[in-house]
């Protein structure tokens, strides 16, 4: 009986050790209330925060061109597996809630758009594709493109 109890102590100690130490350590980490680091890359407060301005215009061929003017941000085609928290990367272009492109340069060809209103969002991403977070949250901007019906 004593041997049986001893054989249980080892596994219980291991389980208790893991559960106990994590129960002690996790609350203080989680209390920082940071966004999940697997998805987001929080920029240092020391760095100037990127600001996005964008305009959309239709070219002669009927394609819509999106021009991004992003301050304090550097576009790059270089991607890495684990990026530093620096304002370098690319932008995700989202049309009506669906990602349509990754922009590695500040000019994006959206192609022809169907008549109607289109919500175009731009979200800045780091070199490892995580979304960049600034002081105010996600670094993003939206515009509405109203495409008239053909006459």
């Amino acid at each position: 009986m004593r041997q049986l109890n001893l054989s249980k102590i080892g596994p219980i100690a291991i389980v208790a050790g893991f559960l106990g130490s994590l129960a002690i350590g996790a609350p203080s980490y989680n209390a920082q209330n940071t966004a999940p680091r697997s998805v987001f890359l929080t920029l240092s407060t020391d760095l100037p925060e990127p600001e996005i301005e964008m305009t959309a215009s239709q070219d002669a061929s009927g394609h819509w061109q999106l021009r991004l003017d992003v301050s304090a941000f550097q576009f790059t085609t270089l991607c890495v597996s684990d990026a530093e928290a620096t304002p370098i990367g690319h932008a995700h272009i989202i049309r009506d809630g669906i990602k349509i492109a990754s922009a590695y340069h500040p000019i994006v060809d959206l192609g022809r758009l169907a008549p109607g209103r289109h919500r175009i969002s731009v979200v800045l991403r780091g070199q490892d594709h995580r979304a960049l977070l600034g002081q105010g949250g996600l670094l993003q901007k939206q515009i509405i493109i109203a495409v008239p019906k053909p006459i």
Partner: protein, 352 residues
């Protein structure tokens, strides 16, 4: 007899083969990349659930987990006679079918990773070769693209069962290389590939392999099979504890967003509570694997859990083929590898 063993082998290999055949439709691992842009926006400002910030709540949850473990260990004593009765048949099935199951599972993962056939969500298939898992894109690490060809070669050799034990060693090495070139992010994956590598070194190619036909299927006598077997269990268990701590416990809003994205049934529970239960179960299962207790029940629980998640999130089982292989072997073989000091094992008899 031959029919029975072939039938059993086929039965066990079937899920992996079916999974492999579904590869071109591969989509959606339960990873961050499957979230829609709107879900990402919501996640950025999602508050941390109170369950995960309270020392009292987590302390109570840990105490409940410990109590559950004590109860499970007590039940282990009760079911031990039943387990002992069915163990020989299970071990026999493991030795007959295990090598093929493990070979097919790993070959599928290696082959698809090497060809980019198992990309992460949002990446077109067959464009971006990866290292073992969808997240680890080789194009991100200049100079290491050749690992794609290595993985393909390993997949082919595993499928035909040639130089199987050496490929097992190569898989362990590949996991180590992953740690070197991808750094800390690869810690989430390395133990779960080193373990099947060890198992392959241990079990070899099995009877349905070129190694067997060519007489190359000799056990590495310098190695203590029981120690390797236990090391594989410890690695898998440590991997689960690490994943639970690094992803579920400290990034619960991501897990909750993924569960909500998959519209996972809640059975009347809140998503934070489900996330906490999932975290606890994963830690306890991992710790029990490390301790070498309740190996069979834990393996069945893990197979059930990852299958349930795969079904509800609509993801291919191939994302976890390595774990399916390990868990099937653990469930069949249990804690101990057949003793070798009592003459040839059933496995060695099968190979003879």
């Amino acid at each position: 007899m031959l029919f029975r063993s072939t039938y059993k082998t086929g039965l066990l290999a079937a899920p992996v083969t079916v999974a492999a055949s579904l590869a071109p439709h591969a989509a959606n691992a339960h990873e961050a990349w499957l979230l829609t842009p709107d879900e990402i926006v919501a996640l950025a400002s999602a508050p941390m659930p109170a369950l995960f910030t309270s020392s009292v709540t987590l302390g109570v949850a840990a105490a409940i987990g410990c109590a559950g473990t004590v109860a499970a260990l007590h039940i282990e004593e009760i079911i031990r006679p039943v387990e002992q009765r069915i163990a020989p048949a299970l071990k026999n099935t493991a030795t007959q079918s295990g090598p093929l199951v493990m070979r097919v599972a790993l070959a599928a993962m290696l082959g698809l990773a090497g060809t980019g056939g198992l990309p992460r969500h949002g990446t077109a298939p067959w464009l971006e070769p990866t290292l073992l898992v969808p997240d680890m894109q080789l194009s991100l690490i200049p100079g290491w693209e050749w690992l794609a060809a290595c993985q393909l070669a390993m997949a082919v050799l595993l499928l035909v069962g040639l130089m199987t034990r050496i490929i097992g060693l190569c898989l362990i090495g590949l996991s180590g290389v992953g740690l070197v070139i991808f750094g800390a992010p690869f810690l989430a994956y390395a133990p779960h590939f080193m373990a099947p590598g060890l198992i392959v070194v241990l079990i070899g190619g099995g009877t349905l392999s070129l190694d067997h036909i060519l007489g190359l299927n000799r056990r590495m006598t310098a190695l203590d099979p029981q120690k390797i077997w236990r090391l594989a269990q410890i690695l898998v268990g440590a991997g689960f504890v690490y994943l639970a701590a690094m992803f579920k416990l400290t990034q619960p809003t991501l897990l909750i967003a993924i569960l909500q994205h998959g519209d996972m049934p809640t059975f009347g529970l809140s998503y934070p509570l489900i996330a906490l239960i999932m975290t606890g179960v994963e830690i306890i299962c991992g710790a029990l694997l490390i301790a070498g207790r309740l190996i069979r029940p834990v393996s069945v629980v893990i197979i059930g859990a990852i299958s349930f998640l795969a079904l509800t999130l609509g993801e291919t089982p191939l994302f976890h083929a390595n774990l399916y292989g390990c868990m099937i072997l653990f469930a069949l073989m249990g804690r101990t590898w057949p003793a070798t000091n009592e003459g040839p094992t059933s496995y060695e008899r099968a190979l003879a």
